[in-house]
Structures are given as C-alpha cells and as structure tokens.
Amino acid sequence: MILRLVAGRLAMLAVTVAVASIAIYGALYLAPGNPATLLAGGHATHAEIRLITRQLKLTEPFFTRYWDWLFGLLHGNLGESFLYREPVASLLAPRVLNTVFLVTYASVVIVVGGLALGLASALFKRLGMGITILTGVGLATPSFVAAIILITLFAVDWKLFPVFGGGAGFVDRLDHLTLPAVALALSWLAYTSQLTRTAVEDEVKKEHVETARGRGIARRHIVTRHLLRNAMIPISTVSGITVAGLIAGDVVVEQAFGVNGLGSFLVSSALDKDFASVQAVALILVATFVVVNALVDIWSLFLDPRLRAKGA
C-alpha cells in the first residue's frame, strides 16, 4: 500500500527530472544564433565555433545530442567549459562542499530557530506580538538585504566575523559561513516560526491536548509529545518549499558574501555566458530540489498515517 504511493512519487520524480533536463538542455537551441556560439561564449572566432560544432556533433538531431549529454551526465561527465577550457565537473568539485555546508548550516538555523521562536510565540502570549512583528519583517527581507545589514553590523562595525569567502577546514568554514547562513536562513526562519505558531495554536485547542492537561500530564511532556508531534506535520510538508527557497537563496547569498560555491559559480557563468557550466549547475540544483521535495513527501507519508489512508 504505502509502497505503491512511494513508487508513484518516485515515478513522478523521474518524469520531472527528465523534463527538467530536456528543458535545460533545450534552452541551448532557443538562443538566437546557433548553439555552438552560445557554448563558445561571447568572443569565439569562427574557427572555434566550427570546432565546437564538430566536437559536440551539434549538426545531429536534437534528441541524439540530448541523449549523449544525458548519458555523459549519468557517467559524471558534466560537459566542457569553453571559458575555462576544463571539464565542468572538475570546476564544480572544489565548490560543492561550500554550498552543501552553507545550505546545511542554514537548515539547522531554520529548524532550531524557527521551531523555538514559533513555540515561544504560541505558548507565551506576551512575547507573541513582538515575535509576530519581527517575523513579519524577517519574512519580507530578501537574503541580499539581510546580507548587507549583517556585513555592516557584524563584520564592519563590530568586526566579529569575516566578510568574504568560504574558509577552509571545519572551524574556519563555520566562522566564514555563519553570516551567510544567517542571511540565507532569515526569511525561512521567520516563515517556519509563523507556521509553527499557527500549527501549535491550532493544536492547543484540540481535545486531546485538553484531555492530556486534564489528566495532569506535565506541561513539558504535553508540548513535546502531543503538541509538537502533530504540529510537525504541516511544518514538514512545507519544508519542501523551504528547500526551494534555500537553493534559490543560496545563489544570491554566495554572491553577496563572495563564497566560492555552486551558486556563485552559476551566476558568474551566466554573466560570462559560459553556457555549459550554466546547464550543469542549473540541472544539479533543480535535480537536488526535486529529489529533496520527493523525500519530504515520502517522509510525510511515514509521519502521518492519515495521508496514507487518503492516498488510497
């Protein structure tokens, strides 16, 4: 039963990734001029363009070409950057870790901070209003605006954190990526906090919580076992959206703080018209997003037995 639901979700995942890859590869053919010009970047000579056309067999039909590209991808060949004259994969390798570190760091900040703030504002009425205003503003603050505020305060005025770069090694990374992680997390932290607050407030009113309170169960116990567990369901279903936001935000935040990761590479490749790199990074980011979303959906199937019944 649940296996069928999971299988259905995985099938949708496969279709989505396939369509996404066709779209990203196909974008090449939408460009004015011919695909080789785009791949070669802005300043290629005619000879270079002819060479690329031959090397990549660009005269062959679209799906043959696409199939070769996809086949290469599945074998770890992400294509060749004509700007750097290097395989895209070897350009990405040193950058992946920074991005993964940053996104993970931000996720931890969001989960811990968002749940804590949301719980606090739902359970302690006096804090509620203040937190609501703060999260309202936080929600509307784009990551790059948060970035410049953080840079101004923490890095320039108080000199607590480095302003630029990703650092090397765990501790140095932690230090370098603290401000970027906070900037990236901010609006999602606010969102999670508001969501937690609503979910907890809805849950508090329910009978099972009344009953638990009536039976004299400890408040701490009610909060963790009865409130949070049920409130987690709506929260975890939107975590997919959060991941989308983090992947999108990551691109901006890396650029803002000069972190050398996938996001800033995507932006600089787009600016340099290094299309092979754009394709590879865009596909990686989209695929990651789709996979995480599918995992979240499957996870919520396990978390909430009622969904399983509904799906049937």
Binding site: T16, P142, I148, I149, V156, L266, V278
Partner: protein, 289 residues
C-alpha cells in the same frame, strides 16, 4: 480581452460586501499597507516631479556626502543624489514585478478556466505540466534564461512569469472547478450560452477575488526575486537605478564605512514587500470569512 474590467469590478464587490461587516476598509493593516503601496506607485509615476536632482548626474567633488538640504539622503560613491536615485529606482523595481504578476495571472487564469471547463485529458496535461514547472525554483529559471537571451528586464521577467504561472493555475483551477459544478453554469449551458462567454462573464467574476489575493501575494515574491536578479547583475544594467542594483553597487562602499546606499535601497525593498504581504494576507483572511 473584454474581461479586463471584471476583476476590478468584483474587487469592488468584495470591498462592498465586507463593508457591511465592518471588515476590509476598517482594518488598519489593510489601510496602512494600501497607503504604502499607493505612495510607492505615486513615487514611481511622478518620479520626475519628486526627485530633487537628475538621478544619473555624478559629481566627483561630492561623493559619499552626508544628508543635507541639497541632497536629502546624501550622495553615493559617484556623487549622485541618493534620494533621487531611490525615487527613480521605484519605477523599474515596481514595473518588473507588475509585469510578472499580470502575465502569470492572465496565463494562469486562462489555463485554469480552460482546464476546469474541458476537464479530462486537457486538465490532466495542464496539471502535469504545472507539477513539472513547480520543480524549477524561479530564480534558477531566470538565470538560465538570462544566460541564453542576455541581461536586461525582458528575459528575467518572462522567465519569472512562467515560473509563477503554476501557482496561479493551481489555486484558480480548484476554485473554478468548484464553480463549474454549480447549477448556474449548467443553466447557462442549456440556454446555449457559448463556453467562452460562460468562462468570461460567469466563471471569471467568481474566481476574480481569489486571483486578486494571489496576485497581491505574488507581487511581493516577484519583487524580491527580480530585485535579487538585479542585485546579481543579471537584470537591467547600470546606470539605470533599481533598488536591487543599488544594493549591489553600494556594497563596495560598506567596507569604507558608507553603507547608506545599500541600506536605503534595502529598506525600500523590504517596505514594499511588507506592504504587499500584509495586504495579501489580510485580503486572504477576509476572503475566507
């Protein structure tokens, strides 16, 4: 299309309805946020009359000046008047999101009404396509578009409009489906009213309030994303002023102790987004009750 007047009419209807309950127009949040939005639009439209200086004229003898009578908010690192740049920046900063919201609302609504009307295979196809589009975070879509079609306003706006369409589609489709099952639609149908007319004259006015709410919320999101594109240097190019671009170009001066340009531009973005989010949320809440 002939139906362009209809959403506004029924938005007025929405206001009318709630006034009886003392709702929308007495809600201070709605009043304040609407006030901010109107103010920003007025600033954008009448920029030449509000600005105190030419936003693009630089003066290397007056760089990074503090606020004064001549320069209300001081000057930037090229000696340009910050206040005037912020005022002119409102134009492209608001025009882009407005285009995105208009295009995606129109496309999403037409598809949603068609999907609800025809049902079956067409509905399935449209919904599947929307599911796939959900997989693209808008900003990545926009970056790919920019790398293919070049920087500027057009490529990001179209890309973000396409990325926003499935959100409009999903919500509108579910409301339209509910309307579609109501007897009045069947009554029109047996009377021989053509399908497009039922869609335009009967379904659209009934789904218009929800589209309006969605559009308000989407505006804030579109503004942030487009400002981010602008910040990344992928949107309109200097010396054009947009708030996103101003945050970016001001960033270099932060380390030199002049964070004003970035901060002011950032505040404008946050202010606009807060106003649209608050209004959208309140409208949604009023619509539900």
């Amino acid at each position: 299309m002939a139906g362009t007047g209809t959403p506004l009419l029924s938005a007025a209807g929405l206001l009318e309805e709630k006034r009886a309950g003392g709702g929308l127009l007495r809600d201070p949040v709605v009043l304040v946020s609407t006030g901010i939005i109107v103010l920003l639009v007025v600033i954008a439209v009448f920029a030449p009359f509000i600005a105190t200086a030419n936003p693009d004229s630089s003066n290397i003898l007056a760089v990074n000046e503090a606020p004064s009578a001549a320069h209300l908010l001081g000057t930037d690192s090229l000696g340009r008047d910050l206040f005037s740049r912020l005022v002119y920046g409102a134009r492209l900063s608001l025009l882009g999101p407005a285009l995105i919201v208009c295009i995606s609302s129109a496309a999403g609504t037409v598809l949603a009404l068609a999907a609800a009307w025809f049902g079956g295979f067409f509905d399935q196809m449209v919904s599947r396509a929307a599911d796939v589009l959900f997989a693209f975070p808008g900003i990545i879509f926009a970056i790919v578009a920019v790398s293919v079609f070049g920087r500027g306003l057009v490529a990001p706006v179209i890309a973000l409009a396409i990325a926003a369409t499935p959100y409009v589609l999903r919500v509108t489709r579910s409301v339209a489906l509910r309307q579609r099952r109501l007897p009045y639609v069947a009554a029109c149908y047996v009377e021989g009213v053509p399908a497009w007319r039922i869609g335009l004259r009967h379904l659209l006015p009934n789904v218009a309030p929800i589209i309006l709410v969605q559009a308000t919320l989407a505006f804030g999101y579109a503004l942030v994303t487009l400002a981010a594109i602008s910040y990344l240097g992928l949107g309109v190019q200097p010396p054009s002023a947009t708030w996103g671009l101003m945050v970016a170009t001001g960033q270099a001066a932060i380390l030199g102790g002049h964070p004003e340009q970035s901060l002011y531009a950032g505040v404008m973005i946050v202010l606009a987004v807060v106003a649209f989010n608050l209004l959208g949320n309140r409208l949604a809440a009023h619509l539900e009750t």
